[in-house]
Structures are given as C-alpha cells and as structure tokens.
Symmetry: C2
Subunit: 490 residues, 2 copies
C-alpha cells in the first residue's frame, strides 16, 4: 500500500498522552464514572414478568390522565418511550393537588401484576413528586380533539400529543431500519454538503445563503458576495456529490436535509425535507437499482411496528405490508404505462389530461397506475430523455433513459432513481442539450475522465416514507417542526 | 389512552390497497425481485478461509497499483470497502494496456490462498474488463505524495486517496457507533430544523437564507423578505428545539448540520459542520450529563478500528484509547481549574494570558489542563454564569452555572453541555440579563410553564471527534467536502 501525504502525521505521540497524570496533584480530580441512565418505562415493562420481584423502581414522566376511583386513583404516566405509558395506582390519601394532566412527576413504587385490562403490569406508588406543574386551565394541549391547524400553531407542544409522539418514534425506528439495511449491504455512510455552488436538478427554486449583514462588520455588498468567493445555495439533492464519493468508496448513502423554495401549498411538499439518497458503482441495469430499492423498503417494512396512535396501526397496514413483503413489486416501462393509460382512457375518458407518449405522467395517471391498475407499488421505468435531468444514462433506443419512479398508492412518487451517464461523450452531449455550462461541471465530468464506472442510485423523500407507513396524509405532520412557504415557527 | 385529533384518519382503507391486481392485464408486470448486491472485497475476504472452495468470484474496483514480475503481474484493486484492497494475480499474457492506476475494472477469477506476505488470500484472475480508462499522464491523483492544499483543490478526487478514504470509513463507523450507543440508552432519534428563526447561542455570526431572486418571479423585496413571513437563518445548534422534543419524548438526540459564518481560518472551525446533540429529561446534576458523555465516548472508542492509512493507526492510539477506556476521566470545577492555573502560572509564568476567576479559559490554559496537568480528557464544570449562554441552570452559589466543557489533549473542547434552567422565573431573569426578547422566546419559556422537568444535554462537534480518533489535525480533512470562509468547491 502507498501512503499519500494528505494528512499531517505527528512525528511522535506527545508524551503527555502516553504518560497520564503527570502531576500527582491532579489525582484528586479522578473519580469513578457513573453508569448509564435509569431504565425507561419501555425498558422496565419489556423485562420478563417473572424476572421482576417486588423491588422498588422509580419512574419519571408526564401525567397523561388521572382517574379517581373510590379507594384508589389511577394515573397514566408517559416518558415518551412507548405509546401506552405506565399505569400508576395511587392511594387516595396520597394525591397532590397539582397531579394534573401535563405535569411532570417522579414516582417511587413497586411494579406489580395489573388486575385491570390493558396492561400486564402497573406501578403501585409509594411516593409522588410533582416536578413541574401544569395549569389545567391554561395548558394548550387539552384532552379533547385538537385540530391539525391548532397543533401546527403550537409546534413546540404538539410532540406531547400521542399521535405526534408516535410519529416521532416511528420516524426514529425508520431511521434505524434504513441505516441497518445499508450497513448490511456494506455501504459507507457519508455526509454530503448542505451548502453548494450547483443546482443538481438544473431546475426548481433554490434558496440562497448569505452572511447575516445585521451582524456583519463588513459593507453589505462584500458580506453578501464574498463569504465563499461565489454564490452559495442550499442543496436540493446530494446526488452529484454522492457520485464523486461512489467513485472511490463504491457504495455510499446519506440521509440529508434538502431544500426547495417552492411556494406551492401541497400535502406532499415542504421547503425543508430529508432525503435518503444512495449511489453505488458497478451496477449494470436499472433493474439492479430497482432491486435494491425494493429490498430496502421491504427490509424496512419488516423491521417497524407502528403503534396504536397512528392512523394505520390497526392491522390493515400490517396486512398490506405483509402482502407487499412477499410479493414482487410490479415493474413496467413508461412506454407500457402510457399504452395502458391510453387503453383505459379510450374506454373510460377517465382522465383530465390525455395520456400520450412524450408527455409527463400527471398525478391522476400515476394514481390510476398504482392504485387501480396495479393495486400496489409499481416501478415505472425508462422515461423519455426529454422529461428527465441531464445525468441519466441514455438507453440504446436513444430516446429513453435508464431511470425509474416508484409510485405508491396514495403517496405518489416515493422514490426516483436511474443509472447515471458514465460515458463522457454522452454526458457532455446531454449537458449541451440541457443548456448546462460544461466548465462549471468540470469536476463532475472529471469523474468520467478518470476511471469512470457504471453506476446508479436513487433518492427517497423521508417524510413521504413516514407518510406511507403511518397513514398520516400530510407531510407537515410527518416531521417534528415543518417549514413551508409562509410558515416557520420556532 | 386518549386519541387526539392531530392526524387525518382515512375512514376506510381504499379497496385498491386491500385487493391487489385488480386487473388481470397487469399480471405481466410482476416478476421475481432480484437479490441484494454482490459481495464487496471486504465481505469476500471476511469469509472464513475454510469455507472458500475454489469457486469463481467477480471483483469490481479501481486499480491502486500494478507491479509486473517475470511471470505474473500483481495488481491491487480497491472497491473502497476496506483499506488493503485485494491483491490480484494476472498472467502476463492477459494484461490490457489500459490496466493502469485509477482505471476501473471488473475481474473474474478464483480466490486462493496467497503465497506472498501481506494478505491471506488473493484473486487468481481469469478475465479482465477495463470499464473506465485512466490516463496515467493526466490523472490528478498520482502515486507520489500530494500536498494537503493540492488535494483540497481536487475535492472531487481526493476520496480516491487512501488516507481520505480511510477517514470516510472511520467517519461512517463513528456514525454507526454513535447511533448504536443512543439506541442502547433508549433515546429517540429526531431531525431538528436547519432553517430557524432564532440564534441559539445569542451570539456568533449566522447565515441568512433567502429565495434565489435570480430564479424568482417575484419582485426582489417580496421574494427576500416574505418566503417564511420572517427572516430565516441557518441553525447554529439544535439545542432549543431538542429541549421541546425532550419535553415529550424524554430522551432525544440528533446528528445535524450546523453553520457559522466565521471568517477565522483555524484548523478547528468550518462554516458547515456536523454536531451530535443530545437532550434528556429527569437528569439531576451536571455529573449525570458528564457520565453520559463519558459513557458515549468510551462506547464509541470501543467499537471503532481506525485503519492503517490514518495517522493514529499504529497502536499508539489504540493504547491511548484503551487507557481512556478503563480509567475514569478527570473532572474539576472551573474554580479549581483556575486555582491550578494560577498556581502553575505563579511558579512558571507559563501563560501569555493571566488566569483569573471570572475570565474565559484561553486555549493555552485549556491545553495545559488536559495535556499537562491531567494528561488526558478532563471535564471542567461550573463556569461563571457571565461566561455562558442564558439557558444554563444557575447553581445555588448564584454565580456559576451547572455546565461543563470536555477538554481533550490536542483537540481542545470536544463537548460542551449543561443542565438547562428549568425554573421559569430564573430563566426569564437570565434572558433579561442577556438582553433577549422574551416574546420571541415564548415557545421556549412555555416549556417551563407546562410540566417543566429538570433536563440537560450536550453538543459534540463531529469533525472534532473524527480529528481526535484519526489523528488528522485539521478538521478540513475530517469531512468529505469542507466549507470555510472563501472556500466552497463543488
């Protein structure tokens, strides 16, 4: 192996690192480090019942409900670790006045077998500490149904609702499942730049980034123009950067924030969203790329367990997912899709927009294909080159490119991907056709100049994935603190 | 449990989802899905030798070296999956002219026991396909030592050097180790906003975000001012948002990009960097927070294996890490630290800046504490309130706050954290002292109004962690595509 000199190697490790505690006077600052955090409610209740002698435990969380009976009071305490929380049983002589919904508490007691329905174990409470009051009169998160819009306005408190907390846990589970999948496929996780000088899609509205002149000591023009010596934008996709990294590491992926300054107000778009993007070398066909997407989604589906506060938690999703899990997902070319759409339209006049080869598929077309014609996820492949970005690989027919959109019922396009054009001359020709400045993309064409490899990849909107798997229809409820045109709270 | 109406539940699951393949004509679009990707070199070589009969394998990657001997030619092929790559043995009659450094290739052959030193197995090659040429005359990544600055200029190609590829793999390992640690502690991973309306630290230069007027159809003033109805900035820290989420989920963390428009050119600062931040409720003391940081770092250290292309790969780091692994790390208060600094300065006049209670610790002070006095990582706790941000919890002495900086030899401050002020009246008083507008932070004080809980957290610069564990001194070499003042390539 040859070492190249791109890092500074300290000639020797400083002595101070090798010989610790140089000064005996420093001895008194060393103590035994503590252990990890106390168990969460989820962890406590996950222990097998038999292994739980009647020993004291401490539970901290927020009061979700208080129900006073003749002899005892039942309270549900949640620490956010799992949806049902823990049922606590308190003696009626032991109830502080401020034990109300939303208050934070620390309870001491014993875990015992529950006599009531709904939980296997409950906490018999000995001590109650209310750590933080919550005035029932003014608390914005009341128990009655609260409108979506009201909760959006209270973005800082809406994680306290069961549904938003469940979404956040699902999102975290998905995050872990996705990383687990790519680890299993030996991908390297990478962080790609958020600030970029290029616009990957060559279209769409972007955000520009400038130093905050209110704080700057420089004249406005200087401060705005010259921080990076050239204009900086927020990334709309990590793909081009991933391609550079895949030219060395072969298999790379990232889950990264992306930004579009779209003014449209739809249930499927945010100004700030997270995108899972993967790129890998030595792939041979668009079917290879679809295979990995399908394996990724099925792997993720198999790992998650949406909980009861979510719309699609009641077994219907599970059965759908299981169906999707074992069947192969449908694949059809754009050309076949248009033919099917034309046939359907000829007999039914079902569409507002007439389907026709060479035109974009409209939302109504995509819905019919996935929801009615296929009745499940469908990869539509090989679109006309004129409808797609410059970097997609031209097929031998010289009219279509080796790409796909994955259409999901009621979600629409969840994933888009393609082979990338690895042939320098084809790429340069495509850039000309798309009106791109070759000089600006020299670094990108360099990847084809030196050891170019066939490669492909895809991008998946993370909020759309959450939407699909939760049944939450609007992506604004699929992220903790959404941003869209005219709206940025916190 | 009570369901709150914050999501729209479809009354019934559409039939098209329950009954798949509504149209028999769609049958032909279903095929058997493919399997996962072929094994990487790392995976191939990780298989136990005994389980490897002489069966044909295919290896794709880039040529790292070619060495022609009398009868055979040795080539090292890397697919980026692990540092040593794979040694390939080719018959001299079978060497294409364009089999040169940097070319991408697909080799077919048999894995056999290696007779040479340096690898247990090698690939006896039957077929060679050069997929992408690499002209040895013009290839920017030559085998001789290349300067750091030259490689920075070639940001798109520098991942092809062994050292940068090793750093990227280490970064990915660290990423997984960090997520694994927090999963084990039952934290929920969350995505916090990148675009915000507030400046967490109340200081420091921020970036402002505006729609790109070059693309906008609106008049410049409108487009700039009103996209979000108020000015938008790039986040400098996720902490305040994490606090809101920890008020429901108890334990949350994120690894998120952060931005500072600093014009300084140091080896420890980037304009765009990644920060690991965690926040959890029901913590009681700053020692609790230090405990988790120490457990996190030790857990991560135990999981990683920096490879041979990195400066600290030669066992010295490993022994240092092992030492750090089992000892308790030192902790001292700021007050004790200043007393030790004063004592040392009184005898040696070692410092340019005189240490004195109430003043910030200078870099020279921090270095002496960690590198000389302690000779290892040291938590310095309980700084004067006047030196720290508004949100830190006031100690009973009413002069200091319950916070810490973790100082690491040769890295400096790796982690900073604190208890957060959970008492509404103290927080409001602190905001006044710091000149903050209470109305603007109403959402933040609300967290103390309704079920406030004692909580704390920390932030760790991810590039500094990479720097510490790799031995790469400049953070610009600890991220794939760095951005700093005047520099943004790609």
């Amino acid at each position: 192996m040859f070492l190249r000199g791109c890092v500074t190697t300290p000639a020797t490790l400083p002595k101070s690192l090798a010989v610790r505690r140089l000064f005996s006077s420093s001895q008194k600052y060393f103590a035994t480090a503590g252990t990890s955090l106390p168990q969460t409610i989820r962890q406590l209740l996950a222990r097998p019942e038999s292994s739980q002698p009647l020993h004291p435990v401490e539970v901290s969380g927020w009061v979700k409900s208080v129900r006073r009976q003749k002899n005892v009071t039942f309270a549900v305490i949640s620490d956010g670790s799992w949806a049902p929380g823990m049922q606590a049983v308190l003696s009626n002589t032991n109830i502080p006045k401020n034990l109300t919904n939303g208050a934070s508490v620390r309870l001491g007691g014993t875990l015992v077998k529950s006599l009531g329905a709904g939980q296997a174990q409950e906490l018999r409470v000995d001590t109650v500490d209310v750590l933080g009051d919550c005035d029932p009169e003014t608390y914005p998160i009341q128990k009655q149904a609260l409108s979506v819009e009201y909760l959006r306005e209270n973005a800082h408190l809406r994680p306290r609702t069961d549904a938003v907390a469940s979404m956040l846990r699902l999102r975290s589970e998905l995050h872990r499942a996705v990383h687990g999948f790519f680890e299993g496929q030996d991908f390297t996780h990478v962080h790609t730049p958020i600030l970029t000088s290029s616009d990957c899609e060559g279209a769409g509205e972007t955000f520009r980034v400038v130093p905050n002149t209110a704080q700057s000591t420089l004249p406005e023009g200087d401060a705005q123009e010259e921080f990076f010596s050239k204009p900086a934008y927020l990334t709309v996709s990590s793909q081009l950067h991933l391609e550079a990294l895949a030219s060395s590491l072969s298999r790379v992926y990232t889950l990264s924030p992306c930004f579009r300054a779209e003014r449209s107000q739809t249930s499927r778009h945010l100004a700030e969203f997270w995108m899972l993007e993967a790129e890998w070398a030595f792939t041979r066909s668009v079917d290879d790329v679809c295979d990995l997407v399908e394996a990724c989604l099925k792997g993720v589906l198999a790992r998650i367990t949406p909980d009861s506060s979510l719309p699609w938690s009641d077994g219907r999703l599970r059965s759908l997912l299981n169906a999707g899990q074992y069947d192969a997902w449908a694949r059809m070319t754009y050309t076949d899709a248009v033919a099917e759409l034309e046939r359907h339209h000829a007999s039914s006049r079902a569409f507002e927009f007439e389907p026709k080869w060479g035109r974009s598929l409209q939302s109504e077309h995509e819905r019919w294909l996935s929801e009615s014609f296929i009745g499940g996820p469908v990869f539509v492949t090989d679109y006309p080159a004129s409808l797609k970005p410059f970097y997609m690989r031209l097929n031998d027919d010289r009219k279509t490119v080796a790409c796909f959109d994955l259409l999901i019922p009621h979600v629409g396009e969840l994933v888009g991907g393609s082979l990338r054009e690895e042939r320098l001359d084809y790429l340069v020709a495509s850039m000309k056709t798309h009106g791109l400045d070759e000089e600006e993309y020299k670094w990108y064409t360099d990847l084809r100049r030196f050891g170019s490899a066939p490669h492909g990849g895809f991008g998946m909107g993370f909020e759309r994935l959450v939407s699909w798997l939760s049944g939450i229809e609007n992506v604004r409820e699929c992220i903790a603190m959404p941003r869209w045109a005219k709206r940025m709270l916190l």
